[in-house]
Symmetry: D3
Amino acid sequence: MIQRFDRLQVELPPPSDPDPNGASAVQELMGGRFGEMSTLMNYLFQSINFRGRQSARPFYDLVANIAAEEWGHVELVGATINTMLTGASPTDDGKAPKASLAGVKDARYHHHYLVGGQGALPADSHGKPWNGDYVFSSGDLIEDLTHNFFLETGARSGKLRVYEMVEHPAARALTGYLLVRGGVHQVAYARALERLTGADMTKLFPSPNIPTEKIPECQPHIKKGLHTKLYRFSPTDYHELSAVFNGPHPETGEELTVDDTMPEGAPWHDLPPQPAVFAPDYAPEDIAEIAKKLREAAGLPKEPTGEVANDPSGVVGRVKDKLS
Amino acid sequence: MIQRFDRLQVELPPPSDPDPNGASAVQELMGGRFGEMSTLMNYLFQSINFRGRQSARPFYDLVANIAAEEWGHVELVGATINTMLTGASPTDDGKAPKASLAGVKDARYHHHYLVGGQGALPADSHGKPWNGDYVFSSGDLIEDLTHNFFLETGARSGKLRVYEMVEHPAARALTGYLLVRGGVHQVAYARALERLTGADMTKLFPSPNIPTEKIPECQPHIKKGLHTKLYRFSPTDYHELSAVFNGPHPETGEELTVDDTMPEGAPWHDLPPQPAVFAPDYAPEDIAEIAKKLREAAGLPKEPTGEVANDPSGVVGRVKDKLS
Amino acid sequence: MIQRFDRLQVELPPPSDPDPNGASAVQELMGGRFGEMSTLMNYLFQSINFRGRQSARPFYDLVANIAAEEWGHVELVGATINTMLTGASPTDDGKAPKASLAGVKDARYHHHYLVGGQGALPADSHGKPWNGDYVFSSGDLIEDLTHNFFLETGARSGKLRVYEMVEHPAARALTGYLLVRGGVHQVAYARALERLTGADMTKLFPSPNIPTEKIPECQPHIKKGLHTKLYRFSPTDYHELSAVFNGPHPETGEELTVDDTMPEGAPWHDLPPQPAVFAPDYAPEDIAEIAKKLREAAGLPKEPTGEVANDPSGVVGRVKDKLS
Amino acid sequence: MIQRFDRLQVELPPPSDPDPNGASAVQELMGGRFGEMSTLMNYLFQSINFRGRQSARPFYDLVANIAAEEWGHVELVGATINTMLTGASPTDDGKAPKASLAGVKDARYHHHYLVGGQGALPADSHGKPWNGDYVFSSGDLIEDLTHNFFLETGARSGKLRVYEMVEHPAARALTGYLLVRGGVHQVAYARALERLTGADMTKLFPSPNIPTEKIPECQPHIKKGLHTKLYRFSPTDYHELSAVFNGPHPETGEELTVDDTMPEGAPWHDLPPQPAVFAPDYAPEDIAEIAKKLREAAGLPKEPTGEVANDPSGVVGRVKDKLS
Amino acid sequence: MIQRFDRLQVELPPPSDPDPNGASAVQELMGGRFGEMSTLMNYLFQSINFRGRQSARPFYDLVANIAAEEWGHVELVGATINTMLTGASPTDDGKAPKASLAGVKDARYHHHYLVGGQGALPADSHGKPWNGDYVFSSGDLIEDLTHNFFLETGARSGKLRVYEMVEHPAARALTGYLLVRGGVHQVAYARALERLTGADMTKLFPSPNIPTEKIPECQPHIKKGLHTKLYRFSPTDYHELSAVFNGPHPETGEELTVDDTMPEGAPWHDLPPQPAVFAPDYAPEDIAEIAKKLREAAGLPKEPTGEVANDPSGVVGRVKDKLS
Amino acid sequence: MIQRFDRLQVELPPPSDPDPNGASAVQELMGGRFGEMSTLMNYLFQSINFRGRQSARPFYDLVANIAAEEWGHVELVGATINTMLTGASPTDDGKAPKASLAGVKDARYHHHYLVGGQGALPADSHGKPWNGDYVFSSGDLIEDLTHNFFLETGARSGKLRVYEMVEHPAARALTGYLLVRGGVHQVAYARALERLTGADMTKLFPSPNIPTEKIPECQPHIKKGLHTKLYRFSPTDYHELSAVFNGPHPETGEELTVDDTMPEGAPWHDLPPQPAVFAPDYAPEDIAEIAKKLREAAGLPKEPTGEVANDPSGVVGRVKDKLS
């Protein structure tokens, strides 16, 4: 089971110019075969299905723990898409019957507006829903690890290509971070295979054949050493990561380490309403008022108790002024 | 982001007689349209995509927090399937070239053996992979909540029907627990709708039209009050649940409450290897030996550090004897 | 647009011994590539999309009118499946928490019980949902007709094979009727192609290579001449059928005719509740009582105004006694 | 079974400027999860599968009758798409080997030209085929009605968003009409739930949170009272609608009524051929000539007997002149 | 079983201006329902599944042999797409972290860049993967042939429409050739049906209703007689083609003939690397060097032994200079 | 392009007792994610899409050539399924209206009878159609090879599990052969990766962790050295295989070799008609007679010119007697 934290694993930039077709490309990192839903679900199922886990505890711990990190990656990809779609219809004056979505009629990805609320969908860059066929959970540990190494390789490839296609700052912040963290997982699974079989897979790195240090948006994370450490995403469990994840990094030679804490992360941006798609409503100010009353009735503070990265702007902000 | 705990939300019975076709029915609760993957992913996406969340914090907290509980439900369904499949091929002497899978040639669900490792798959009872079309995240809060109420209704229906079809003790323990917890979520979303619109949905309960108290396997959980409380699955966030989840339970009239801790849960059973499907290997004892050495080399204790419900039996157990 | 009649195109037998796996085979005639949903949707879309229809009126009328007949075929297939599933769980004493679905745990088609209410689903014999890829609507009249001739050939083949697999009286009544009516459509599309191109396709009949008169369950319909006539399913339109559908039947030489009325048909059986799947409820007698009161409040007769083939039996019947 | 009428439920404007990407958006209302194929097929299957229908006649009649109206909605969406695609390739001089489709090479929806004949397809705005997973037919009446209320809510949302995205007159005429009629169905299912359970769902309206009267294209229909009446789409059956559909409209307070006739409707436009896609042929004038001869041979009038909204123009019209 | 030849069945032009959206249209001819994967797989499965083949040898030989030709069509479509995508990102200076894919962010088909390596995918023009539902293999010879005639009709239609949409020289060379060869297969299956049943299908030609001789890009092939001859794609087998494929061509009256050899064909173009998508690598010159050394170590000639249409240009060419 | 030979790569046993559910398991090797359609299509697409192939010729030749072998594997899997289904309905007296398919009403795989002609389908063991998502063709050579190694690992795993589930002699002959040949491909791709990167993957073998020599049905092929040699499936091309495929076998240490010929193979069994499914017809003797006449009219020998493994028996045989 899990506990959830209302934070992102890394800071993302605030909304800027909307980038509808860029957002459609980023969907590949969400719901594509090699997207973050795939890494999350592969490792979740492999950990659930792990037989004889006590005897193979270091490997079980590795897979089970990386699954937890991937949840945060799904959140990051979603937050990026949402940021890029903010403003694709007017944020302050886009209410029906105005033709507020006419500006995205020629966009590649109609579902962002017709099905979602200018928000991320569990689908790839062509709108194909993610599906369970992307999960490989054979029960055979070596086979599963072989798959995972391949999966992380494909995932790294996808991130690089989205990087090259989309220059929006949110997309760049996302891919810079994910390339570094995905690289760690790629190493982790290679190392696990090496430990089990004795094979030396070191020379397969980097794959695709470009070191992350060449990517400017990766560099800050590399400087902080994020490319060599595995976080332990549990206050109580998965202690045996270090039995597998150790030795020199295959590209840099630095020592691999396990961090017993999770990243500090950063608060989410509270993205403004998009009334054209009724997100969260045609009249979000009404919801704000109801929420306030409910909060009071429940003995909670007048102001929202959650932290967000921004002082919310737009409609919601003005409503707050009016209500206070 | 999340932290993961190596425990199940509720105790499950150990493996007993295998029940291959029963396990195929339980798959519906995993990867069917109304299975636990659907509840998990719906609430995860809705929380990621929530616009103006600060102003609508009680509702955001509600959805975001229930998402966290659903992760544990996915684990429970998976553990149940795996328990029911244990022994469907011999656990101690099923190695190729023996025809150890001949006994399941007529089973409904070949993928459990040919694709999975006698383990759960992200698919429904007919083997159809779960897919992202099952996620509804429109951005419109009232619409999303209307959906969620419907989803929990359909989910409750599915659990009841699996209950009636499958008498295996693990399936019964599972459905007994999920019916109670799903009922809480059904109430939570109805209450959220009521708070936002003023509609009175109380009389729609129970739906389907049978109170959980009639189900023997629900009764222990009802006695503990699990039908009236919402756990807060976060040590730090989602404090505003109580602004929505309060008032009388629509069926029993008892007061709804928020529990600021998550359930204590129970350790997983360490299910024995199934060598016919190489789970975790043709020779799991080799993996055990390697793991032991890795553990020592990393300065970890000789014995596995994780807790499991059973003293592992079968092949793995014997190996431990031999190695110690 | 359409008007609907609360009757089936042909009489079906009442429920007898349930036949779960037979019902799963009949699903192929519902949601398979060559099932009745396919014929219905192909002709509906082709009629909607028909360009230059005024100039090609006889062909437009033909396609548009056959679409209307296919709606009734979908109803017939559904009614057959439902008849065959009646009694697969107890009809009078199957309420949870009884294990009333344990008897169908080994059935091929779990969705009939876990997803449907012992009722037909828009899916094929393996549970795969029908999908729009089965529709061919190219806009090119000759191409569409070539497709339709092929579609009816494949559909006839499917009906024959279900006939050979399933001996349940409802399945036999269904396939006997559909083979005759599908044969008429096959002739109609062949004739249309002949009229447009001059090709002589007469000798392609019968395809598959067995005349319907060899099938005992076809014979009563053949005796009534149903193999040579096209019904006009409209009180006001589609008058030009006879411009295409005429000349000798390619197998028997009898004259093809157009009947300006639709079949008289027969009332549906009112199939009894299946409380194990809550169809229509855990306590159907409550619904009956509510319905009665609503009827009275609306100034309608005390007794239901619709006609059904049976004096409803089982739970519902007893309730009626009690209430009257 | 049904009878079909060669009319649309409401008048649509004639072709004007083509709008290829607008037409791709309208596809969502055809084959999307919440499109008209979904409403049609949900209610058709629920009516077929209704157990104990005699005892629950008012509810059966309601579902069965709305199914019939939805057929007409599918026709309307199709006619709209076809209107919007008319002229996307030349209508009078677009024959191969000319590159007459070069102008739509960058359009979002290649299938309109490469698979369809500049005509509607049973697919959504991304080209994903409609599929049977969109049908919910659980057998449990309350569950099915809960679903239907949700479905109509989602459908209304989709119509509003397409309205905001597409300003083409045909799309606006369509969405204006469907918003009003879908609103009636939403009320009908809410009322049915209220009747069965006693819950008061009135305050959930409107959902999404904008009254149809704000939409200019809805206003003419509201003036005619179409927002408060349910048509009975049967000359002989479904008399018990009024037992459920009565009382005040939840938004306006006006009395809900049942109209025992169906709408008068309007004739279809006879859309001109698009020879680039061979619809209906490379040389439609040949088909016209054949049709004329067939008509005569069958003793039918010289001129087509069907009514269309336009005096057909373009190629076909000229051919008529030439032939007469 | 097969032997493969490193040649295309017909010469294609070298890369010129890239045409990303044109390439997306050509995908329909690859992985669409009527694309070359469909013809290949239909005939392959029908030949594998042919029962009583010895007694029906001429028909078996026909289907089995055409399957072999279709492999070459798949290659041609793929080569065309790849040619059209060459240069969509820079071929000589497109390495990450440059935004070398920014130019295709608005292209219809992101998968060409994010999933493929600027290469063909087994999917249609909307990115939907080809699937086995497109294969019809009923076992009934007449039914299968009826299908094949329809399939070739639909395929011809698709080719014509792509021809009209895409003016890129590679697409035109492709469709010109395939229209001629597909036409031969259409005739072959019609003839087979005629032989088996006696029906005269001659007048159904051409379908769609335009003779290939009107298409300029078809004319060179017609001049060579490619429209009247069936190649025998086997040095040893399928001798009985001529028993079916004979008589006059239905459009031109020329005699149909069997050619006991396969086409001479032409070498492939060696398309240049696209480093933005790592095809074949970030540093293709390294691979070239490794290949050279491996070749030498194996006693093979220094220079590649395979033939290509071009003296490879771009990066690879320069590398060769540098290495020699 | 290819030439086809009317032979199987290895001899299969003749039909014996039918094994319907065994045949459904073997479908996984046909159309499952790791089935032979996947290996065929992956390597076909990778070879088509190979950029800079001249400079990387040894790797191109390797992939392109293995694609050719996989065609033969698809044939073998199909022939096996067909063999196992022979006799599942009567072969000599199963004509409609007899209920000749009643015996397979409870079989897992209705599509074998209702859709196919007791023949193989391009689908997996649950009836899910193979689809193009199973193809990985990234353009990046190292990534593609990493995938291929993983694919062959998964494929080997599937073959082993089918081996353990199905004891029918045809299934055993099939899996014995494919395990050996798949093992060669697994080695080939590992070796290619080693050549390109310098990594040593030798110790990953065998994976799954059981040497093929333990499988009795593999042993005859190992004795012939089939586990160490790569066939060159081209009379003229792909000469550079040996530059990659050399060195010691990772399990046995024997030298890897390239065989410049393809296997001699064996003729197919001419499987008898199954009239219940009209394969190849209701009256196959009529087809035989027609074929004979066509053969004569074309100047071909009286007797079929193709070779089959058996003197055809059953209906067809008797017909031959009667006709001669």
